[in-house]
Symmetry: C2
Subunit: 332 residues, 2 copies
């Protein structure tokens, strides 16, 4: 059995959607057991089945807009997030899924779960949609503003194994986000990473990739430093949001437009759904001694379920063990 800790109280619609997501997961996935951390009374309101479910009572929630995530975690050791993270450290669970505040989850994971010895920097790796109905791993959308090329190499190994074992891509390709495709483009960091990746035997490096192909990239993994990849992620988000607004403004013009829009409503929902982080799944935090999956803060049941599904698959295929073996072999 794969044991997964659920931070039931974290997220914009917690605990309702988290508990409902957990119910979906229990229904669809046979080899998991879930422990829900949170307020038992509230959780029980949404619990429709207690097969393979344990509830652990916790007190306090880390606020979504937490400005000082480290002290938020330190001063809320009995919160659902902190308790769920601690259970992974103690080996009581194999993984945790949370849609709580990202920075608090990253900080909490460092403090309470700990970093993999082999990886010097953790990374947060969301999945972004493609025009081909697949998804691309974006690295590092999280925190490492200044990073060494060799740490990026380790993150790339992680993504490589993740793409194989979780996304089912046989020969994952990786591209370096850059402002031109020719070798030698970009900042000193980009040039160094390019050389390092090109010489590497494990990675299938396709070279530089310009973000004008961001939703139709020639690879399964897009990598950059934590500043740039975060900017890319937020620009995709901002562009999608802005274009949605403009599309609505334009489509509803005139009587034919309104009628057309009415007929298209189901398809427009399909469009929205394909872009929703909900459907694609959570972001894994790479480089920890346990499996930590961050589901979107705005997750509804289905999105949260997708996060659980992902976490189960990461454990099932022993991604952490495989990554550690690869990096340790490389470091020898």
């Amino acid at each position: 059995m794969i044991k997964i800790a659920i931070d039931a109280m974290g997220g914009d619609y917690a605990p309702k959607e988290q508990v409902q997501g957990a119910m979906l997961a229990i229904e669809k996935i046979d080899d998991i057991e879930l422990t829900l951390y949170g307020d038992e009374t509230t959780i029980r309101q949404y619990l429709t089945d207690d097969t393979r479910i344990t509830i652990v009572q916790t007190d306090g929630v880390i606020n979504m807009g937490e400005k000082d995530p480290i002290s938020a975690i330190r001063s809320n050791r009995n919160s659902s997030m902190a308790q769920a993270l601690t259970s992974v450290r103690k080996g009581e669970n194999d993984a945790i899924v949370s849609s709580g505040a990202t920075q608090a989850l990253i900080a909490g994971a460092h403090i309470l779960v700990g970093r993999l010895k082999a990886m010097k920097r953790t990374a947060i790796a969301p999945l972004i949609p493609t025009v081909n109905n697949t998804s691309t791993i974006l690295l590092d959308a999280g925190g490492n503003i200044e990073i060494k090329p060799e740490y990026m190499l380790h993150q790339a190994y992680f993504a490589h194994i993740y793409a194989k074992e979780v996304l089912g891509v046989e020969e994952p390709k990786i591209g370096l986000i850059n402002l031109g495709t020719e070798p030698g483009k970009g900042r000193p960091l980009d040039k160094e990473v390019f050389e390092l990746f090109e010489q590497d035997d494990i990675l299938n490096f396709v070279g530089n990739v310009e973000p004008k192909l961001v939703l139709d990239p020639p690879c399964d993994i897009l990598i950059s430093d934590g500043f740039t990849a975060n900017i890319v992620m937020k620009t995709i988000e901002g562009t999608a949001k802005g274009l949605g607004t403009i599309l609505k403004q334009e489509l509803s013009r005139g009587i034919f437009g309104k009628l057309g829009m009415l007929l298209s409503i189901k398809n427009l929902k399909g469009f929205k759904k394909r872009l929703s982080a909900e459907e694609i799944g959570g972001a894994m935090i790479y480089g920890l001694r346990g499996v930590v999956v961050k589901a979107q803060g705005a997750s509804k049941a289905n999105g949260f379920y997708n996060g659980i599904r992902q976490a189960a698959q990461i454990v099932r295929n022993d991604v952490l063990g495989k990554v550690t073996a690869v990096i340790e072999r490389e470091l020898e």
Copy 2:
């Protein structure tokens, strides 16, 4: 009269669309005279009126995919782009509009027009659309991968004056592209720029802006270093392109979808039009001793006309003179 040099041979659809754009400009703008640089015979095929038009015969074109822009310019001194740039240096024209290869235009402008003494780094500043039907200046989408905060300050002054004089924004606001809104976010460069801008008397600095607001920003100017802003620009482009593809895939599903799409076709065109760089205008290259406007490579007549209109307005309102005065006063 405002005298504008037209690189008639540069661009994906040159010279046809460039000449037709010039014809539009002559028709709509009274105080301009245009000199078209290119192959006279071909140009004359599309010329419908020669009022305030001069043609200068040139030979050779800088290829759009030019890998080595500097030597392309040096070895094609008689090309339409090089000749048009040179005419600005000589004072024969006040401005140049080109939809030729961007890097060649930047390199050519440095070599043939020269840099403003007051500005240590040039910058390329495209306009991006907003959900409110206005546009935002994006800086520096061009070349300065490594840049000092004070050079970014000068670029910001330029954009400030440009927004006032060309876009007609009375009190232009400027935001720093960053991964969080709180002061202290980002790389060392971002922190330094933040402090510098905050203390500045000329700029209306709104602080850090996350690109999830990129099409609906709380400011008229978005600034970052040349690497980051270029990545932002290309991510917007890639997201818009990808979403367009996904939208088409989704909208055309089913019989109601197809019917709805038929009814919406005019509005979908309106949507596409609003996003088109065509409609918004060209990108000015800041920091040169003349007015250099880069129209999109894929410009059609209307897009090219918009570039000419912009160039005329920059000259009419003496943007260069005003920028130089401000920077020189600051440097004293």
